[in-house]
C-alpha cells in the first residue's frame, strides 16, 4: 500500500515530493483514475498551485473527478493550498465552475487590504489534529488570495487571527490553505501527522 500524490500538471508537486523524500516516505505520483481507486492507494495528497478553473479542467480532462470523490469516502485525503479549495463546491475565483464538492461550502476572495497574502502568518489550532501536538500558535507559510468558507464550521481545524479559515478536517479528509511543505519544522510535523494517520487508518 502506498501514499499517492496527485499530479494535475500545474501543481507544485516537486516541493511535496521533496518533503516526502526528506521524511524518507516512499510515494507514487499519479494522474490515473484507476490507480487512485486501486487498493494499493492508501492515502492521497492533492497539492495545488494555479486557478480553481484551470485545476478543475485538468481533473476533468484526466477523468479524475469521480476517482478522487470515491477515494474521499473512505481513505485519507489531504488537500494543500488550491488542493484544499478544490475540496469545496464553488469558488469566486472561477464563477460557474463546480469544485470536487467533497466538502460543503465555498471559496471566497479574502477581504484583507493586500492580496495575495504572501508570507508567514501565525496560525491558531482550533481543533485537535490526530498525531499533531501543538501547544502554541504556529507560523505557517501562505500564498493565497482566496480562502475556504465551510458550511459546517465544525470542520474548521485552523484559523488565522482575522478569522480566515486555513485548516479543515472532516473525518478522513484534511485540508490546509498554507504550504506545510514550505513551512520549515512546523510544516514537516503536520505532514508527518497525516502520514501517521494514514498508517493507522
Amino acid at each position: 500500500m502506498s501514499i499517492y500524490l496527485l499530479d494535475i500538471g500545474i501543481s507544485n508537486l516537486k516541493s511535496v515530493c521533496n518533503t516526502l523524500d526528506f521524511l524518507n516516505t516512499p510515494y507514487k505520483i499519479t494522474n490515473k483514475p484507476e490507480e487512485i481507486t486501486s487498493p494499493d492507494a492508501k492515502a492521497l495528497i492533492m497539492p495545488g498551485v494555479g486557478t480553481f478553473a484551470a485545476a478543475m479542467e485538468e481533473l476533468k480532462k484526466q477523468n479524475l473527478v469521480n476517482a478522487v470523490k470515491d477515494f474521499s469516502k473512505t481513505k485519507p485525503l489531504l488537500g494543500i493550498c488550491l488542493g484544499m479549495q478544490l475540496l469545496f463546491e464553488t469558488s469566486e475565483e472561477s464563477l460557474g465552475i463546480e469544485g470536487l464538492s467533497i466538502l460543503k461550502g465555498e471559496v471566497k476572495k479574502m477581504s484583507r487590504s493586500k492580496l495575495p497574502t504572501i508570507g508567514w502568518c501565525e496560525t491558531q489550532i482550533v481543533q485537535s489534529i490526530p498525531y499533531f501536538n501543538a501547544v502554541n500558535n504556529l507560523d505557517f507559510y501562505y500564498i493565497h488570495s482566496y480562502s475556504c468558507i465551510p458550511s459546517d464550521s465544525n470542520i474548521i481545524s485552523m484559523k488565522v487571527s482575522d478569522g480566515v479559515v486555513c485548516g479543515v478536517r472532516k473525518e478522513n479528509i484534511f485540508g490546509y490553505q498554507f504550504h506545510p511543505e514550505k513551512s520549515q519544522q512546523a510544516g514537516l510535523d503536520l505532514i508527518k501527522s497525516f502520514l501517521e494517520y494514514a498508517k493507522y487508518c
Binding site: N18, T51, P116, G119
Partner: protein, 266 residues
C-alpha cells in the same frame, strides 16, 4: 499596515553559470561558491524564504570543477539547478533569470520553485504577466524591477532603459495581476550603503501587492530601516554571504529593537 502577515527577511542567491556570485553595480561579478551548500545552510538557518536569480544569460552550465555536493554532470541548465536546489529547500523558493516563455514558467514550477521571478520579458509585454496569473495564479508570479536614480526602469541586467518610470511600471504590473514586486536599485547593488528608502516607501504604500526591497544592505540595521520606514519586506544577497551567522544577527537586531512582527525563535 497589515499585521496578519509577518514581515520577511529574504536572502538572495545570484548565480552565473552554476556558481554563486557576488555582484556590484550589475557588472562586477565574482564567484564566491557553490549554491547548493549555501541553500542547505539557509535551510538550517530557518530563513523565511529564498530568492534565487540566475544571471547567466547563456544556456549551458560549466561548473569548472567536480568537488561539489552533487553530480554536476546532471545539471546542464538553470532548470536542472532548480530541481537540485529545491531538494535542499524547506522554505519557499522564488526562481528568476531568463524566463521567456510559458514553458519556462511551467518548468520552473514543476521543478520545485514556488514562485517565478520575471524581469526583462515584461518589456512591452505586460500581458505575459496576466497569462501566467491566469494559469498559475497571481501568487506564483513575482516581477523584479530594476531602476536607476533617474527613476526609470531598466531591462536586461540594467543595460536597456525602458520608457517608463518605476512607479508607473509597478502600477501597470499590478493591473496585470502581478503577485509580488521586487524593486532593485541598480546603483545600490553591491554598494552596502543602505537601501533607497524613499522609493521603496512610495512604491510599497502606493500599490496593493507585496513589495520586496533588494540591494544596498550593508549592515543589520539596514533591514530594520526598511521594515520600520516602509511597508516592504527586505531581501539582500552579498551581505548574507560575507558575515558569520548573518541571518540570525539580522533577525535578532530587528526583534530586539522592538519590531516584533517577524518570525523569530527566541
Amino acid at each position: 499596515m497589515q499585521n496578519i502577515v509577518k514581515r520577511r527577511v529574504i536572502p538572495c542567491i545570484l548565480i552565473k553559470n552554476g556558481m554563486m556570485i557576488r555582484s556590484e553595480g550589475f557588472k562586477d561579478h565574482k564567484i564566491i561558491g557553490n549554491p547548493i551548500s549555501q541553500v542547505a545552510r539557509y535551510t538550517d538557518w530557518n530563513v523565511d524564504e529564498l530568492f534565487y536569480i540566475d544571471i547567466s544569460g547563456g544556456t549551458n552550465y560549466d561548473f569548472g570543477r567536480d568537488d561539489h555536493k552533487f553530480n554536476s554532470n546532471k545539471i546542464l541548465n538553470r532548470f536542472d539547478m532548480v530541481s537540485e536546489l529545491s531538494k535542499h529547500c524547506n522554505m519557499p523558493l522564488g526562481f528568476g533569470g531568463g524566463i521567456r516563455t510559458m514553458e519556462d514558467v511551467r518548468q520552473v514550477i514543476n521543478k520545485g520553485a514556488d514562485k517565478v521571478i520575471i524581469n526583462s520579458i515584461v518589456k512591452d509585454n505586460f500581458t505575459f504577466v496576466s497569462k501566467i496569473a491566469n494559469i498559475f495564479g497571481s501568487q506564483a508570479i513575482v516581477a523584479c524591477v530594476d531602476y536607476k536614480k533617474d527613476g526609470y526602469v531598466y531591462h536586461f541586467n540594467g543595460k536597456e532603459k525602458y520608457n517608463m518610470k518605476v512607479q508607473e511600471y509597478c502600477k501597470t504590473l499590478q493591473d496585470h495581476g502581478i503577485g509580488e514586486i521586487v524593486i532593485q536599485s541598480i546603483e545600490r547593488d553591491g554598494m552596502a550603503e543602505g537601501c533607497d528608502i524613499e522609493t521603496i516607501k512610495n512604491i510599497a504604500s502606493d500599490i496593493g501587492t507585496s513589495v520586496v526591497s533588494l540591494g544596498g544592505v550593508g549592515s543589520e540595521f539596514d533591514f530594520l530601516e526598511v521594515l520600520n520606514s516602509t511597508e516592504a519586506d527586505v531581501a539582500a544577497a552579498n551581505w548574507f554571504h560575507f558575515k558569520e551567522q548573518s541571518y540570525s544577527l539580522a533577525k535578532k537586531t530587528i526583534f530586539d529593537s522592538g519590531f516584533k512582527n517577524i518570525r523569530y525563535d527566541l
